[in-house]
Amino acid sequence: MLRFLFSRVIVLIPTFIGVSIIAFAFIRLLPGDPILLIAGERGLTEERYAELQAAYGFDRPIVVQYLDYLAGLLTGDFGESIVTKRAVLEEFFSRFPATLELSFCAIVFAALLGIPAGMLAAVKRGSIIDQSIMGTALVGFSMPIFWWGLLLIILFSGVLGWTPVSGRISFLYFFPPVTGFMLIDSALSGQEGAFRSAVSHLILPTIVLGTIPLAVIARQTRSAMLEVLGEDYVRTARAKGLPPWRVIGLHALRNALIPVVTTIGLQVGVLMAGAILTESIFSWPGIGKWMVDSVFRRDYTVVQGGLVLIATLIMLVNLGVDLLYGLINPRIRRN
């Protein structure tokens, strides 16, 4: 197992270096002079320009500049925002809980609905239930989620007036963040209605972000389940006279879940891409919106740092999924 762990960690190193090269190149590939972009000042004098050039190290050989940048990354120095002058890492971690909370709710929503739906479709294979579940899943999979979010706002916020349109909690409530997770913080604050407000703000974004993972999980569960239902041990369990729910819920599901767990883990990339859109629609103050805003504000050091942080995050989660899979399924480890 240790060897397996080691082999998986080793391959991440070149990938991380590649990610850092892309981020490093990004600022230098932008149209215009990187110094003017970073300085954000107009009408620079020549002395000031040279000063900035030296300050940012642009006067040194490109390889030295890169190694310096990489060393910075490894020691947690992701530069500072051009706009706010705060450290990029600090900004990232102040917004990350919002994205984590939303993504967590979305994936739980997707799994709680997707796994039973996929099971039902597999058990009732070929029936009208199967067809409608799979049809719905395909619609979900094809959904432009930025439009889906707007539709839900029209219906639930506009017509019915049930849910708020944007943000994480109503302005009526204010309390200092403890964990950064609004659901926990609002419950801890002890203010009446705060928790309910947080929940009502979370519902629509959760549905929107969870839609595509839900469709993927339902499809994956169905096909994994169909495969398992054809196995000998399932037939044996049936032949023993076990009730169908026991065969399906216990014998089959346990094995069918292995690929499904992997699928859930691999949705992180999908969730991050979805967070960019979902957070933009609902003004959710997470890292997706942070990245989009930074692109528009031309806060390029933030974009640069965010790229590395998000890619690293996805790499680590994928590594975790890989290890978990190796743990559940020993056959994988041998390769």
Binding site: P14, G18, F26, L138, P144, F146, W147, W148
Partner: protein, 304 residues
């Protein structure tokens, strides 16, 4: 005379297995009713896109100041001049949607062709030659895949400058690793098979082996992936348009139309509903076809 006969005989001899394959393909494909329905919708969209100047009732960019935010004809205040209503500056929704089909299909075609050709070429090289060149290529692909595709596309467009063409380049670049991986895996699986070895023994060079001998036998998964990429490209391009980084106004691209309509969502449902519905229908139709293609082309899944 006789040589011409030989030639035509040879040709027909070459063509009939193709025809048989096509017939077999259609047999399996047409069993999937959803796929056939998706194909018909897709064909209809292509026809509409090609004939846009003839079927669109109005010019998609001309503004009518007397008809701002008119509802669709069935609602009170709507008129049959503007069947699906007008947008905030008085442009005909239906015409814009019809012209929008051109952009979306064009985006899909260009992105898929770009990602496919680059991906297949790189994948063939990696899978055929292996060694250090393979390692380098695959590590580079890992790096691209480490980013969420939409984020990388967004950042690339920030570098290249917002616009439809740059959005397409960015999306194609982000998608090609999937084709590289697929091609490489199939090439590696096919390379040691007897038919490849025998044509190598007969004296076929690497280029011929790669392109003529191996590639045709790797096509099935690539075709399925290409359909998937086609629909994802339409979604991602629309998403970029929605974020303001794709096609720029007044281009009647569906995602861009949504972005322009956003502030009117609670006042005029139609300016938001129709462009998104158009995206959904197009993407759904292509995904239905993709599912059918997978069933028909993948022998492992066939009648399992």
């Amino acid at each position: 005379m006789s040589s011409a006969d030989d030639f035509s005989n040879g040709r027909s001899g070459q063509w009939s297995p193709w025809r048989a394959m096509l017939a077999e393909f259609w047999y399996y494909f047409s069993e999937n009713k959803g796929a056939v329905a998706g194909l018909f919708v897709f064909i209809a969209l292509v026809v509409i896109a090609l004939l846009a100047p003839f079927v669109a009732p109005h010019d998609p960019v001309i503004q009518n100041r007397d008809a701002l935010l008119l509802p669709p004809f069935w609602q009170e205040g709507g008129s049959t001049t503007y069947l699906l209503g007008t947008d905030p500056v008085g442009r005909d929704m239906l015409s814009r949607l019809i012209y929008g089909a051109r952009f979306s299909l064009f985006i899909g075609v260009v992105v898929v062709i770009g990602a496919l050709t680059v991906g297949i070429t790189i994948g063939l090289i990696a899978g055929y030659f292996r060694g250090w060149i393979d390692i380098v290529i695959m590590r580079v692909m890992d790096v691209i895949l480490a980013f969420p595709s939409l984020l990388l596309a967004l950042v690339l467009v920030a570098v290249l400058g917002p616009g439809l063409i740059n959005a397409m380049i960015a999306i194609a670049l982000v998608y090609q690793p999937h084709f590289v991986r697929l091609t490489r895996a199939s090439v590696m699986a096919e390379k040691t098979k007897d038919y490849v070895v025998s044509s190598r023994v007969v004296g076929a060079g690497p280029l011929r082996l790669m392109v003529r001998t191996i590639l045709p036998n790797c096509l099935a998964p690539l075709i399925v992936q290409a359909t998937l990429s086609f629909s994802s490209a339409i979604l991602d391009a629309a998403a970029l348009g929605f974020l303001g980084m794709g096609a720029q106004p007044p281009t009647p691209e569906w995602g861009t139309m949504l972005a322009e309509a956003r502030e009117f969502i609670l006042r005029a449902w139609w300016v938001v509903t129709f462009p998104g519905l158009a995206i959904l229908i197009t993407v759904l139709a292509i995904n239905l076809v993709g599912d059918g293609l997978r069933d028909a082309l993948d022998p492992k899944l066939k009648r399992s």
